[in-house]
């Protein structure tokens, strides 16, 4: 069997401003559910998805933060974040729902080049 292609999902939209955040989670979980290799990079406004303490209960919408917390159960263990953007938006990554690795812009480029397919959402 051919070696599995590696997919990097580049997440760069805020969690509730559009349906793109939900789409990114869906693609990630579906990819993993079908046993494909997938990693995630949160960059720009996408880092806002990692804000701790999201609470969607009163609005009755899906809680993106909680859905991201389920990533390890799909064996999605490599999650990276644009350190500069997290700092700019004051996102407390230590309290984020999922463990992340902080990257510089240069490392983000290296990460992209290390994958076979890039999907920006």
């Amino acid at each position: 069997m051919a070696e599995k292609k590696r997919l990097l999902i580049v997440i760069r939209h805020s969690p509730y401003g559009s349906s793109l955040a939900k789409a990114a989670v869906d693609v990630a979980l579906a990819t993993a559910a079908f046993d494909q290799r997938v990693e995630l990079l949160f960059t720009g406004e996408g880092v806002l998805q990692l804000m701790p303490d999201q609470d969607s209960q009163r609005l009755g919408v899906k809680n993106i933060g909680r859905q991201l917390a389920s990533l390890p159960l799909y064996d999605i263990d490599r999650v990276y974040v644009d350190a500069e953007a997290a700092e700019r938006y004051r996102v407390n990554l230590d309290a984020a729902a999922v463990a992340v690795e902080r990257l510089s812009p240069h490392d983000m480029h290296r990460l992209m080049v290390a994958h076979d397919h890039l999907l920006g959402l």
């Binding site: 760069r12 812009p105 890039l118 920006g120």
Partner: protein
């Protein structure tokens, strides 16, 4: 080997444009299309920032023509649809910034 081709279709003031700018590197290519073509206007901040990345820059000819961006900065090449296809064959990965 050429590795990373970016297609940039967001306006220069957008978050997507800035996100793209952050990772563009020498050895990459970027094709400006849609609202991204406005970054090909010479002597603009966006154009200067793009040129400073050292990436190979192109603008999609029909989109430049449509928007009236007829005079493009030196260092930004015009590319047509066939040229875009050729680029996508030359670069093994593509990232869309929209």
């Amino acid at each position: 080997m050429s590795v990373l081709l970016h297609t940039l279709s967001a306006a220069p003031s957008s978050a997507a444009f800035k996100d793209c700018l952050k990772v563009l590197q020498p050895g990459d290519a970027a094709v400006l299309m849609g609202d991204g073509v406005y970054a090909a206007v010479p002597d603009t901040e966006a154009c200067g920032a793009l040129l400073a990345t050292g990436a190979q820059l192109y603008v999609l000819d029909t989109h430049a023509q449509l928007t009236g961006v007829t005079c493009t900065a030196q260092g930004i090449g015009l590319v047509d649809m066939d040229g875009l296809v050729a680029l996508s064959e030359r670069y093994c990965r593509q990232m869309a910034w929209y």
